[in-house]
Amino acid sequence: MNRHRFEPARLLLGLLLVGGALMYVLDALGEWRVPVWAQLAALPVALVLAAFTAWTTFAVRRRLRRRVAAPPALGGMPMDDLREGYGRGEGGPSGRSGGNG
């Protein structure tokens, strides 16, 4: 399987779930007394935290992407097509092929 981009939200949710499961088991076996409200709140808190992490990751990545793509160095003019040569129109995105306006 190929590795993909790191997703912190899933890692966080997974770790929280493992921790929650451990908490439940210890409580059931009598090793560790956990108050009932903590048991009830564990999963919603984990989900909310994971959702917040996912949102933060998305926002940060979008911001980075926008910053990278931000400076449009004199694009959009037919001259630029000329300047860069049409060869890249073959492999590039099809939108570039029409510098004809």
């Binding site: 993909h4 997703e7 939200a9 997974g14 493992v18 929650g20 499961a21 409580d27 989900l47 092929s97």
Partner: protein, 502 residues
């Protein structure tokens, strides 16, 4: 739903033409051929009923229907809302349409996705809509709204069908085929519909061949610019590979594997301590194992593979079940069954009786309250189920009952078979401390001090009638049955009867 509707309809029309082709034979043939070619070749292709992606409000069903029937989607939306509010039928229809009609850029519908194990948010909401609709519909069945709903539905369907039919008749007339006489009058002689200007597919002016005389027909004498093949290639790619399968983008789906492992972990964890631990603990351990497997799977999917909302959904379900299991009282064990305790004498009554789960009966009818043993003290503990305590008619019961969730009932049998509820107390975490005196015309011969601790269930105190009757009936009615011993001469034969009865 039926992608070949249009073609099938053409087939029918051509058959009609053949049937009526005696009058104008040549024209009919020509029309037929034209028609068939028109049906096959590009034009507007066979229209398929799909859910619309772009103009959509909830699931795109109405927009898709409107596109399919050439109607304004509002014509579907308004009756749908009315039907949903009135009887829930609209929601039923919407949910199932959402499940069964594929979206326009996908080949399979949501029900298929569901069956193949990939549950996503849209599928869940479709199911939810259908479920809510079914509930509303069932709740309103007794109402008088059902005929009204059916009338509205029928009207909308009729309008859609009429519109569909009319468009087809118009199309046929445009081609030149004779119109079906029944629909001829339905076709309005309106001017042809305005159409969008054709998309310019030829190269723009500066790409025109320089030689205008036509001799150098396709010499692609562009001054500059890319070849046309680039555009062709992109369009072919769009047509062929346009359908993006789910999960293609972010690695292989892991959901099935994870849920399988989690189920196995749940079973193993539950079975491991089934005999030695109480029910709640076993279930909690098993479900926590499943949750841990889900957690590990999610952590792995942060790097490799992907999980969808289906897995998250299963995680939530597992966690809810886990919370429920952890709240099961620890006194409920896994040893379930029906027990009858029949002490023969006062000294035979044990100090404590204990039942994990099931139906228990403590039968004190044979206990003699004479002499020094005026008072019998006992304790009963019940995890889950029903505990029935049968006492003779002439005994005072000092009851100290604690019920977690459930009910305390006191019966007095007025007649055999039919029992009267004297008092009933039900609810959460009830604690009752009463003294039940024998009926008026009897003098108390003894006292039973009974303390009961029941987690979930029902505690019944049944007082036997004093009248002697032939045997055959039992105290509470529906409980574990046995022979009724004769009440008055106590301590004699009846115990053997009961043992056989069990």
């Amino acid at each position: 739903m039926c992608p070949t509707v249009r073609r099938g309809h053409h087939g029918r029309m051509t058959e009609d033409e053949h049937a009526s082709s005696d009058r104008p034979p040549p024209q009919g043939d020509a029309a037929t051929s034209v028609h068939e070619t028109a049906g096959e070749t590009p034009g507007p292709p066979v229209r398929k009923l799909t859910r619309s992606r772009r103009p959509k409000v909830v699931g795109g069903v109405c927009a898709g229907l409107g596109r399919y029937f050439d109607l304004d989607p509002v014509i579907f939306r308004v009756p749908l809302v009315v039907l949903s509010v009135v009887g829930g039928l609209g929601l039923v229809f919407y949910g199932f349409a959402w499940l069964l009609i594929p979206a326009e850029d996908e080949q399979q519908n949501e029900a298929r996705w569901l069956l193949s194990g990939r549950v996503e948010g849209t599928t869940l909401s479709a199911i939810l809509v259908a479920l809510v609709g079914c509930g509303l519909f069932l709740a309103s069945l007794g109402n008088s709204s059902t005929p009204f709903s059916l009338l509205i539905g029928g009207a909308v369907f009729g309008a859609a069908y009429w519109s569909h039919h009319r468009r087809q008749a118009e199309a046929a007339e445009a081609v030149g085929a004779p119109v079906d006489p029944t629909t001829a009058h339905a076709v309005a002689d309106a001017p042809p519909e305005a159409q969008a200007p054709p998309v310019p597919s030829t190269p723009s002016w500066w790409r025109e061949p320089l030689t205008k005389d036509g001799s150098g027909a396709r010499d692609t004498g562009y001054l500059w610019g890319p070849d046309d093949q680039v555009a062709q290639r992109t369009s072919r790619r769009l047509a062929g590979g346009g359908i993006r399968w789910r999960g293609e983008r972010r690695g292989r789906p892991l959901g099935g594997l994870i849920s399988m492992l989690a189920s196995a972990a749940a079973v193993i964890g539950t079975v491991a301590g089934w005999d030695s631990r109480p029910l709640g603990t076993s279930l909690t351990v098993g479900l926590a194992c499943a949750l841990a497997v889900y957690g590990v799977g999610l952590a792995v999917s942060a790097f490799v593979g992907r999980v969808g909302f289906g897995t998250i959904f299963l995680v939530v379900v597992t966690a809810v079940m886990l919370t429920g299991a952890s709240l099961i009282p620890k006194s409920i064990g896994t040893d379930w069954g029906d027990v009858v305790w029949t002490p023969v004498s006062a000294s035979d009554v044990e100090n404590a009786y204990r039942l994990d789960a099931g139906v228990g009966e403590l039968d004190l009818r044979n206990v003699r309250f004479t002499g020094a043993r005026k008072t019998v003290r006992t304790h009963a503990q019940l995890g889950l189920g029903t505990l029935r305590v049968v006492v003779p008619h002439d005994v005072t019961v000092a009851l100290d009952a604690r019920v977690g969730v459930g009910e305390v009932r006191q019966y007095r049998e007025s007649d055999f078979g039919g029992s009267t509820v004297v008092e009933s107390l039900s609810g959460f975490d009830k604690h009752q401390r009463t003294t039940l005196e024998p009926p008026d015309d009897h003098k108390s011969k003894g006292t039973v001090e009974l303390s009961v601790d029941a987690e979930i269930g029902q505690l019944e105190i049944v007082r036997l009638p004093s009248v002697e009757r032939p045997s055959g009936e039992r105290s509470g009615g529906e409980g574990p049955s046995g022979q009724r011993p004769d009440a008055e001469p106590p301590g004699s034969a009846p115990r053997g009867d009961r043992e056989e009865g069990r």
